[in-house]
Symmetry: C2
Subunit: 236 residues, 2 copies
């Protein structure tokens, strides 16, 4: 089956968590909104009544007649098909639980630069952003990093759940990559406390298909329209 991923072109955003899974598995997929006319097609699909449930927002995935939205839900669907989730029910729920925690974390990253309204510009909420980012760097960032470090500490093979790399491992790679981009100073100070997390990031980056993807034009560069943004005022 050929997968069609729909997400805003020009940013990594939430779509990147799906892209990493598709790329790592060598799946047959089309990054459909980046093709000419792709955004128009995406907007048409979002209005569609044919599917049982229209997406609230991108990303969404088309797989045959199925249309699936919400990043973690897409990965729940793709996991077993791409060999990126354990086979057991308990294992699948464990990986999904981790993915949903990453989704919460990512939401907090977004809100460091948009604490008041996603419909306003960063410049219109800079004072609140400074406050929220300071709290994020001081409390929330160490809390999330410490949590994933403790999960890795308890795991036998250095992956978050089970014996092999799952989509949650790929997503944790993306979190570290994004946080290094957005908060280089804070991460430089913090990283030595989370060696297993840092090692996982390096191990995922070295996976052959991930490495090939990261070096390709298919990987969009981090930028100040995405979720991870490098605003020095927010890095302390």
């Amino acid at each position: 089956v050929r997968y069609f991923l729909y997400y805003w072109p020009g940013i990594q955003g939430r779509g990147e968590f799906v892209r990493l899974a598709l790329e790592d598995a060598g799946a047959d997929y089309v990054d459909a909104a980046r093709a000419p006319g792709g955004v128009a097609a995406m907007m048409r699909l979002m209005r569609a009544r044919a599917s049982t449930v229209a997406p609230f927002a991108p990303p969404f995935l088309q797989a045959g007649r199925l249309l699936i939205a919400q990043t973690a839900n897409i990965l729940l669907f793709l996991g077993p098909r791409l060999g990126l989730a354990p086979v057991s029910e308990s294992g699948r729920h464990a990986v999904h639980q981790l993915q949903l925690t990453i989704a919460d974390w990512l939401g907090e990253v977004h809100d460091t630069h948009h604490p008041i309204a996603s419909g306003l510009y960063y410049a219109q909420q800079k004072a609140a952003a400074r406050q929220r980012a300071a709290d994020f760097r001081r409390h929330r960032l160490p809390k999330f990093l410490g949590y994933f470090e403790s999960v890795l500490r308890g795991s036998p093979r250095g992956y978050l759940a089970g014996r092999a790399c799952s989509y949650a491992d790929l997503s944790l790679f993306q979190m570290v990559a994004g946080l290094r981009y957005a908060f280089p100073q804070a991460m430089a100070r913090l990283e030595r406390k989370y060696p297993r997390t840092v090692a996982l990031h390096a191990r995922v980056a070295a996976r052959p298909r991930v490495a090939a993807y990261l070096a390709s034009p298919r990987r969009i560069a981090f930028n100040e329209q995405g979720i991870f943004r490098r605003y020095p005022a927010l890095d302390g």
Copy 2:
């Protein structure tokens, strides 16, 4: 199987979405953290290394040897067991997609009173809260209500997905109930635009086991420690 739900006693919070599913299904469950010594037991379980993956935060559910965290993940697990999710894979993903959108919405409700830091008091972030709540009332609340109204408009039986009541319907009931509590003026103005959503709320509230639950002491009252809080300054 007997289910053990662990969540902060004293507030409805995220645990309420799980409680509604257990109550509606007449499931055999213990609201474990509300029993004497329950919070201490909850904290012990969160530190446990025995489970594959420790929870990041409550709520979590114990079912036999399984320990499952993240509200939407718990409902994904319970859905088929409680008869609150479609049988087909596409149906299960549709309901889960809706639940994850409700989770996003709930996070935005929380941030109306805590836009800067969850570790600070509301009084310490009141100015930012006023701004965020104004944006929520003006843009986000109608956007989410409109989305669920459009999903209901496209559905044959007045439920969000499939032919019967799912856990997402119970959760949408809870959103309407909470929003009426927290934003009575904004909701009074908005509700007439979303008749299907309002009707769904009433239909869920009238389900015999839900009605019995709501009238029982098992239902914690809304209060200003929960996610839905009635702060008149935030209601415009």
